[in-house]
């Protein structure tokens, strides 16, 4: 590195763009993401919006890095504020190296809002946009000129990416946006952000093929590749993107998407479809999941396969529709009245979302029961860079399905045949001589209503037996960090990336921990309880107020005295420093206690 060039290589960059809802923060972040991806970086983006269409301070955050991260970093390098209110709102995430760029069209930043160390620059973004283009929204492209210069992007790179981005929108729009970029570069000049003198040295690294994808998209895609052909939904944030993706793509695969009049209709349409043998999915979040409870019990009793995505958001009730939380776990595991088998899977990143959805489709038909995918707003909606998915890995297994030939070889076909593994062979309507009755009433082997006590016990046991026989096939946990360590961390969904980053930081600080990522939440796997009981202490990162995850573990045999609950339920996405701090504090106390003893 030569003396005159003190710019570091770009390795880990966190940029937040924030403004009033409708200001287009997401657009700026997306543009930046695509430029940085061109430069071989991995990116992760997050949005923080309100449950309203316009107004209120919203934000989009981007992390770009040279390795692999599935979370936003602990502090922000650059804050771009289209609205002055966005500055105090995001102050907590800034540190002394942070730079703030804000729109001063409405006035300068009041003194004292930021510490002295933080460099803040004002530029009349909105004013210039309105003046030059008569439309406020061009402030996005203007800001981009400044952002690029601050970061050290070559002007040409910016132009090229603008061209490719706006190509589809016609020459007029392209021109305006390029002009806006030029205005931005002009403002940059005024502020002394000179080309080639940005924060980083940005080199063109070779771009490996990779995907930029959200959890919701990955689940929708996984469902499709696994042969999913019927999706019924009712719009609800943050699950709607699953439907959106499928509306666009599913017909190309021969599938169909129906928007129902409500969630009751959605799950019952799905049941109707599932009864025909069609692979079927619904996606929703808390309020919808609550409404689907009766249908879910029906799946259990009728032994009907269905995949149900729950993109959890802040609860209870309408709660905080756009905020991440993991507080439906109890409902997923214990919802529906009566006893019935179910599977709850918990992916940690979009890749996991894809493959676990494939597994969910197979498991649902193999074990003829509801399979839930416990996601959360952040996992569902944040975009992450992943290696291209391996579609060849997708194998279809429809379980004990009988076709006409199979049936013709039987003396008797019984839809709910008692079997050792609890799984009965099934036909689909249309199969000659495969007629059956499927019902939510207790029934005999043929599906005829029965309240005979002996039959009842056998039927319940048969259904419960499935929970046992499926155990070997259920997705196993991810294991990370120092696998010998007696300090464990557990977390699911969006905490996956957070805990992985925390592991690194903890290691830097002399604490070698290991991360156990349960990918099957229910039925509880022995490995999970063994992991907990094999550690001295296990930190459970529980994104809810009640400690629902930890509660499940204890109920299933984990030693409560080993568990420390890190409860996070303020509606913000948890960051790795919260985990690090919690572990370090607890470890220090433990050490302290030992010293005293």
């Amino acid at each position: 590195m030569s003396a005159e060039n003190t710019q570091p290589d770009l390795e880990d960059l966190n940029v937040i763009v924030s403004g009033q809802g409708g200001d287009g923060s997401l657009t700026v972040v997306n543009l930046l993401a695509s430029v940085l991806r061109q430069n071989g970086m991995s990116v992760y983006t997050e949005r923080d919006v309100l449950s309203r269409i316009k107004g209120g301070i919203t934000a989009a955050t981007l992390r770009a890095f040279s390795g692999e991260r599935f979370t936003i970093g602990n502090h922000i390098d650059l804050l771009v504020a289209f609205d002055i209110d966005a500055v105090p709102k995001n102050r907590r995430q800034l540190n002394k190296n942070s730079i703030v760029l804000y729109d001063n069209s409405g006035g300068s930043l009041p003194d004292g809002i930021l510490g002295d160390e933080i460099r803040a620059f004002g530029a009349p973004l909105s004013r210039q946009a309105v003046k030059t283009f008569r439309r406020d929204i061009y402030k996005n492209s203007i800001s981009f000129g400044l952002i690029g210069r601050i970061l050290g992007l070559p002007d040409d790179t910016m132009r090229v990416s603008f061209e490719s981005r706006f190509k589809r929108m016609g020459p007029q729009i392209m021109k305006y946006n390029l002009d806006a970029l030029t205005v931005g570069l002009g403002l940059a000049d005024e502020l002394g952000f000179v080309a080639g003198k940005g924060l980083y040295r940005i080199q063109e690294i070779e771009r490996k093929p990779h995907m930029l994808i959200t959890g919701n998209e990955a689940m929708a895609f996984g469902f499709s590749v696994a042969g999913g052909r019927f999706y019924a939904g009712y719009p609800i944030t943050p699950s709607t993107d699953v439907m959106d993706w499928l509306i666009k793509w599913s017909p190309k695969f021969g599938g169909v998407v129906r928007q129902a009049e409500d969630e009751l209709s959605a799950i019952n349409m799905a049941i109707g479809s599932a009864l025909t043998g069609t692979r079927t999915m619904v996606a929703t979040c808390g309020p919808g999941l609550s409404l689907m409870q009766e249908g879910i019990g029906q799946l259990g009793m009728g032994e009907i396969p269905l995949v149900i995505v729950d993109a959890q958001r802040g609860g209870p009730s309408t709660g905080m529709p756009t905020k991440p939380e993991q507080s439906d776990l109890n409902l997923l595991v214990f919802g529906g009245h009566g006893d019935f088998p179910r599977i709850v899977l918990a992916p940690g990143n979009p890749e996991d979302c894809f493959y676990l959805t494939v597994d969910a489709c197979n498991l649902s038909q193999r074990y003829q029961c509801p399979v839930f995918i416990a996601s959360d707003q952040a996992l569902s909606q944040n975009t992450a860079t992943i290696d291209p998915l391996d579609l060849e890995r997708v194998v279809i297994d429809q379980g004990k399905r009988l076709d006409a030939d199979d049936v013709s070889k039987l003396d008797t076909y019984k839809r709910y045949l008692f079997t050792e593994d609890g799984v009965s062979p099934y036909t689909i309507p249309g199969t000659p001589d495969g007629m059956s009755l499927v019902t939510g009433n207790e029934h005999d082997e043929f599906g005829l209503v029965s309240t005979d006590p002996v039959n009842r016990v056998r039927m319940v046991d048969k259904r419960q037996m499935k929970m046992k026989t499926m155990l070997p096939e259920l997705p196993r946990a991810g294991r990370f960090g120092d696998l010998e360590s007696k300090i464990g961390i557990i977390g699911i969904g969006m905490t996956f990336g957070v805990i992985l980053e925390a592991l690194d930081t903890l290691a830097d600080r002399g604490i070698d921990a290991q991360y156990f990522q349960p990918r099957t939440l229910w039925p509880m796997l022995d490995e999970t309880i063994e992991f907990i009981n094999g550690c001295d202490v296990v930190y459970v990162v529980d994104l809810n107020a009640e400690g629902q995850l930890a509660g499940l573990f204890v109920r299933e045999g984990a030693d409560a005295s080993r568990i420390r609950k890190l409860l996070h339920y303020d509606g913000t996405p948890i960051r790795s420093d919260a985990v690090v701090e919690f572990v370090v504090n607890d470890q220090t106390q433990a050490l302290g206690a030992e010293e005293v003893a």
Binding site: F221, R258, A260, V394, L437, G440, L448, V449
Partner: protein
């Protein structure tokens, strides 16, 4: 031949109208040559909701009130099937009322037969949406679901039968099944099916019914005229029966499905079959 379930003996009270509905349905299916193994009967919860146990074909006992979303899903998933919904007035008009409205609007090619007895039979005689004001604790006017159907754009087949007139009931059931079989959309057939135990209306209904098919002036193809006539009959305390409205509108499955593919349930879902398309989707994330 492989043995499957033996259809159950009906569990209805002697004299229950539902016997007649079942008979009409079985005969209509037979007359039309509808194959039992290509038929799914989806039943609601109620006395009426045990009909599927008694018929030789695929049967599904839905959740209370959810017959219509279920049949819609089943039909879309496999258009080769004959999909028939059956249930009670409580099931279909109370808890299921919203779905009725939306299914009429959607127009999937399925048949829906409501055994209307103006009461909740199975739960012992509470008022249903079609119970008259004064029945038990009821203080509401009775709903006429056919009138409701007239008000919904998209409805294509509205009929009412009466178990006391079995020949006509068979005809109407046949017509309803045909409407759906021919892909003309949603065939809604309400059957006046008395509950002898909790609301024995045989005598009343015998005199109240008014067969529009006997009325040369009745025009079942004109919604407004039909609505007008039905309202007038209602004012006279008459219960119109017959084919009350038939219209044309593309069926849901026509509009919703990609017809380049076989029915969803019958597709070969081995990933290799569509690998190019999946790859295309994958690449859309790589841009």
């Amino acid at each position: 031949m492989t043995k499957t379930f033996t259809p159950a003996r009906p569990i209805w009270c002697a004299g229950c109208g539902d016997f007649g509905v079942q008979q009409a349905l079985e005969n209509a299916m037979k007359n039309l040559g509808i194959e039992p193994h290509e038929t799914v009967v989806v039943a609601g919860i109620g006395c009426s909701g045990s009909l599927q146990n008694n018929v030789r074909c695929y049967g599904y006992h839905a959740l209370h009130g959810r017959v219509l979303p279920t049949v819609t899903g089943a039909k879309l998933a496999n258009t080769d099937l004959t999909v028939i919904g059956v249930g009670g007035d409580g099931d279909g008009y109370a808890i299921g009322g919203g779905h009725l409205m939306h299914t009429l609007k959607r127009n999937p090619s399925v048949t829906y037969i409501v055994m209307n007895n103006g009461t909740y039979g199975l739960t012992k005689g509470q008022a249903s949406p079609t119970s008259p004001n004064g029945y038990g604790e009821n203080i509401e006017e009775d709903l006429d679901p056919i009138l409701l159907g007239m008000s919904i754009p998209g409805s294509t087949f509205l009929a009412r039968g009466y178990t006391g007139q079995p020949a006509q009931l068979l005809e109407l059931t046949t017509a309803a099944l045909e409407h759906a079989e021919n892909g003309r959309g949603f065939a809604f057939l309400e059957v006046l099916s008395p509950c002898v135990t909790y609301n024995d209306t045989y005598r009343e209904w015998r005199t109240d019914v008014y067969d529009v098919e006997q009325d040369p002036d009745y025009d079942a193809s004109d919604k407004v005229a039909a609505f007008t006539r039905l309202m007038a009959l209602r004012d006279q305390g008459r219960l119109p029966i017959g084919l009350l409205y038939r219209g044309e509108r593309p069926a849901l499955e026509e509009a919703a499905l990609n017809h380049d593919f076989p029915p969803l349930a019958l597709q070969d879902i081995d990933p290799s079959k569509l690998m190019d398309k999946y790859q295309q989707a994958l690449e859309s994330f790589m841009r």
